[in-house]
Symmetry: C2
Subunit: 453 residues, 2 copies
């Protein structure tokens, strides 16, 4: 009998899915790391530097103390009854942990919660959004998730019926989107960010790609915008955002706004505006635009990737559609409570007057200033290197330099049956231990993606 489970009889959508940020180069890096352990000195470097993904704490960034104090107290609430705790934890971490526990039915941080997340934590998140945007937010619109990725998957699962359903995605794009669209059997409809104009997003190109897809019979369901951009680091201008919102309304598209880098902006002349704020500012209400905003505890200055916390804020969906989202969420019961708590803290950090405020502010500013400094240093370094050019790093956590490879390198890549950028990334890894993602993984050849370590 043939093997009951073989690559030939797996779901072809799984086979088609690619995820470059954890792909071939990273697997090779893990092998080299093992080699460094078993045969020290056998490679031209002593350490693997993972710049393939924004994973700040793996490269030494410290977590924000206040957040971790609150998590520890919520994990082990009997600490709150001990006298010694007062000398080990800040007073506002203690009071915040008490507030959070009071908001959890039965103070049970080990119980399944409501499938959208604990109501009291969603209230805190909604208050944080309202204070950020200056427009109201509603806890019923919040779905707390294990990081942003499961939220994106949920939306793809909801919207994609078959390969005739399409999602407009930026190219270059964070490969979560291409992977998720492939897994759910839809079609990625590309639109192109223009490197020459600092990775600008042109509505005319959007329109052209949409019409082109429609002419091929694709029902385009949604537009993905990543702002600040991943992997490109651009920050959208407000008027550009207004145009995008109008475009989605006019064309009947769901706007999927990946806003996980909302705290990561490194230039003075740009600021973050959520798409919800933009939509409300130009007078669009709930019913004008189905809009989903994704946020994550993994990015920003918090960098708590391993805690898997995040949320999506869903507005403009009808009640019956919302019920379907709830149903999908309920099949996984709920997201992890530690991540839920952290999502509420990130959206409602210490305020002026709180005992922890000064220390919190210093940690936050230190991290963001360091990221900005490193972004600039890396940008300058790239632009001083022969054969490399790099746009200004406005935000997010990455640089996406273009590499101009000599013809001989391109031929060597071809001989090795690799894309030139993948070939370069592999040689870079083998010579220096630095792990980057070839631009082709993001849909863009001749680029490398560097986390700004």
């Amino acid at each position: 009998m043939a093997p009951s489970v073989a690559v030939e009889n797996l779901n072809p959508k799984v086979l088609k899915c690619e995820y470059a940020v954890r792909g071939e180069i990273v697997i090779h890096a893990q092998r080299l790391q093992q080699q460094l352990q078993t045969q020290p000195g056998s490679l031209p470097f002593d350490e693997i530097l993972y710049c393939n993904i924004g994973n700040p704490q793996s490269l030494g960034q410290k977590p924000v103390t206040f957040f971790r104090e609150v998590l520890a107290l919520c994990d082990h609430p009997s600490l709150l009854e001990k006298e010694e705790t007062k000398s080990l934890f800040s007073a506002d971490a203690i009071s915040r942990a008490k507030e959070i526990l009071a908001a959890i039915p039965g103070r049970a941080t080990g119980a399944y919660s409501h499938s959208q997340g604990i109501k009291g934590l969603r209230d805190a998140i909604a208050a944080g959004i309202a204070s950020r945007d200056g427009f109201p937010a509603n806890a019923d619109d919040i779905f707390v998730t294990d990081g942003a990725s499961p939220g994106v998957h949920m939306m793809m699962q909801l919207l994609l019926r078959d390969e005739k359903d399409g999602i407009l995605c930026p190219i270059p794009q964070y490969p979560l989107y291409s992977a998720s669209i492939a897994l759910h059997g839809g079609t990625l409809v590309p639109y192109y960010l223009d490197e020459k104009t600092g990775w600008g997003l042109e509505i005319s190109d959007l329109k052209k790609q949409l019409e082109d897809a429609r002419s091929k019979g694709i029902d385009v369901r949604a537009l993905v915008v990543i702002n600040p951009g991943n992997p490109t680091g651009q920050v959208l201008a407000e008027d550009n955002q207004c145009d995008i919102v109008r475009f989605c309304k006019n064309e009947g598209l769901v706007l999927l706004a990946d806003e996980v880098y909302q705290e990561n902006i490194y230039v003075d002349d740009k600021k973050f505006n959520s798409f919800k704020k933009i939509a409300r500012s130009i007078g669009y209400g709930e019913d004008d635009l189905p809009l989903v905003s994704f946020q994550s505890v993994s990015k920003g200055y918090y960098g708590e990737c391993g805690k898997r916390g995040g949320y999506m804020e869903i507005t403009g969906f009808s009640a019956p559609v919302r019920e379907q989202v709830y149903k999908i969420a309920s099949v996984n019961l709920c997201s992890n409570i530690t991540g839920q708590i952290l999502a509420s803290l990130v959206m409602n950090p210490p305020k002026v007057g709180d005992e922890s405020y000064a220390a919190y502010k210093a940690e936050k500013d230190g991290i963001l200033q360091s990221l900005a400094r490193r972004a600039k240093a890396l940008e300058d370094a790239f632009n001083n290197l022969e054969g490399i050019s790099c746009n200004k790093a406005e935000g997010a956590m990455y640089l996406f330099p273009q590499i101009h490879l000599p013809q001989k390198a391109i031929e060597a890549a071809k001989a090795a049956n690799k894309a030139p950028d993948a070939f370069y990334a592999l040689r870079l890894l083998e010579s220096t231990g630095i792990v980057v993602v070839p631009g082709s993984g993001f849909g863009q050849v001749s680029q490398l993606n560097f986390y700004i370590l």
Copy 2:
């Protein structure tokens, strides 16, 4: 323009999916709970009792102290440098936290981990499995997951190509399986547990259902076995398990073994045997049988549902198939680190001689004895009620009594356009505040599913 997103244009697989344990009755219960808050005294009860799902800590079960001590220390490692910590935490919790942190690259509990989970934690899990089974286990076979559900989804996503692919599932079944098969577009091939023989699993029925499905052109890919059973509570006999393993090998089926209730056995004459142990005991090696075992931190005596920890142990898959599983796992980056740590603790709890051992043992025994006592009390109570009969509760966390409704009740249900069991469950909720799941949600009419609170 028609609404861009409406129920009519959603993924029909999502619309088809049902998930009774968080379905209509539960949503109605949440409404009543709000009513109790806003209008106290307006209902014939003061409290909603959620027996719809095994969620022990929501009903007052306390977490195991040792586990929570370790989690708190890992969340806030700077505690380990403070003198006061020694008086607040047990010595073995402190040393365990140090061990765990040493196993995490950069001691970073806030970093994404390897997509299968942190290697050192997988080593601990594999050691726990080996010690439980008396057969070796390998950390490379472990995929740490956010509870068991995401593992089940991953397997369905891998195996199901279209509606011509089937999965053999027990009826009654925990509706995660029917929901996941619906979401991934496959076909549920039922086999029937026989209430008369204490929910026995007959190989002859399995064989008949398999052949029947094949005659309809269904390619049956896998067999789901839940042991101890959910919602039925039965514990499979060893010879029955041997037959199941042989059946899967002979028929070329992947065996998906839901073993999340492995610690929940309440009768002296039954014990838990993992399917891997059974397979190895009868001489089957890796290559004889693709086998996936699911475990969760949500069940057992630990009951840590909200922490979303668990793992699947995958054996008998070829390397290229395993790579595809890894790829799916990597698209979600990793499971939450708190859940990963907890999964390692559950499989490697305090041992004789450890400072916490006596307290840990007392907590564990107290919880398991209380569950056993409540299972027996509820079973007796049901069997003493008119019109209700109930099998012996051997394991898991549920009872699944049969209700024999009078004709008039059945007619009233029909008039209300409800299944009789759903009608009864709704009336039970409205009269008493007790939330149970109608048996029809598990594929079995005329039953109710009670969590043994």
